[in-house]
């Protein structure tokens, strides 16, 4: 069951990275700089992948 859940959702690091990036994107979309979300979310996710590569 643990393998099943981990395969679908990933580990705590993956969940934290994706969650933090989405929160940043949603927050940004509610500001006057909403247009920047299309640049900020990919940059955050790439930074997240870099973090996951080290952990």
């Amino acid at each position: 069951m643990q393998g099943f859940i981990k395969t679908i959702f990933g580990d705590k690091y993956t969940l934290s990275v994706a969650g933090a990036c989405i929160v940043i994107a949603v927050t940004l979309l509610h500001t006057p700089a909403a247009i920047m979300a299309g640049f900020v979310l990919p940059a955050c996710l790439l930074a997240g992948a870099a973090y996951l590569a080290k952990h």
Binding site: G3, L29, A50
Partner: protein, 238 residues
Amino acid sequence: MMGALIATYLTATVEWVEAYTIILAVALSIGWPRALGAAGAALLFLAVLTTIGSVILTMIHDISILQFVIGVFLTLFGVRWLGKAIARGAGLKKLHDEDAEFAGLRARADIHEERAAWWIAFNGMLLEGLEVWLIVVALGVQTHHTLAASSAAIVALLVVCIAGALARKPLAKVPENTIKFTVGSGILSFGTFWILESLGYDWPLGDTSLLALFAFYILGGLGLIRLYRAKPLTAGTI
């Protein structure tokens, strides 16, 4: 649609190659009929999961919610694969070695017991197939081509079965990390695109933004590999 089918096919190829290694190791202990029986049972379970997953997702009538849910799943999957591929490409983590995996399985004491070996084959096929299931359902439902996505996964299975039947040993020459790096970037592009679109964001280049995202993740990933690499790149590292 073509991008989604290619991503499904490549994801399925990597996962089926890993599953084949497990089935082969088990088959040498309990015979091919029983090992294939376990694999077939796992595939049947995955087919049921695909149907249930597709039905549940198509019950979500609000396209924005559907896009967001699928986008999140693809992002979780893509960022994980990209991170792993960067780590392996940079030498921070060992490359997945099918021969070593096979040797490890053959060294297990329980692989020679019929019931335990059957479960090893069933669990292995199921866990490897789950990632295929996730991609088939997510990309299939979102692009309205679940059947085509399922077919791409089945074609990949047939190709691996034929290659396995010809080789009769682990398929160690498949460039797994290169495929994971490319597919991870592609899946992450779909996830990023759909998450923001579901939240009302208008992509400046429309659907072409997907290609820009893909290029960004590929180039960014290659840059990170270069940054992290401690030793010179060896052939087949990425």
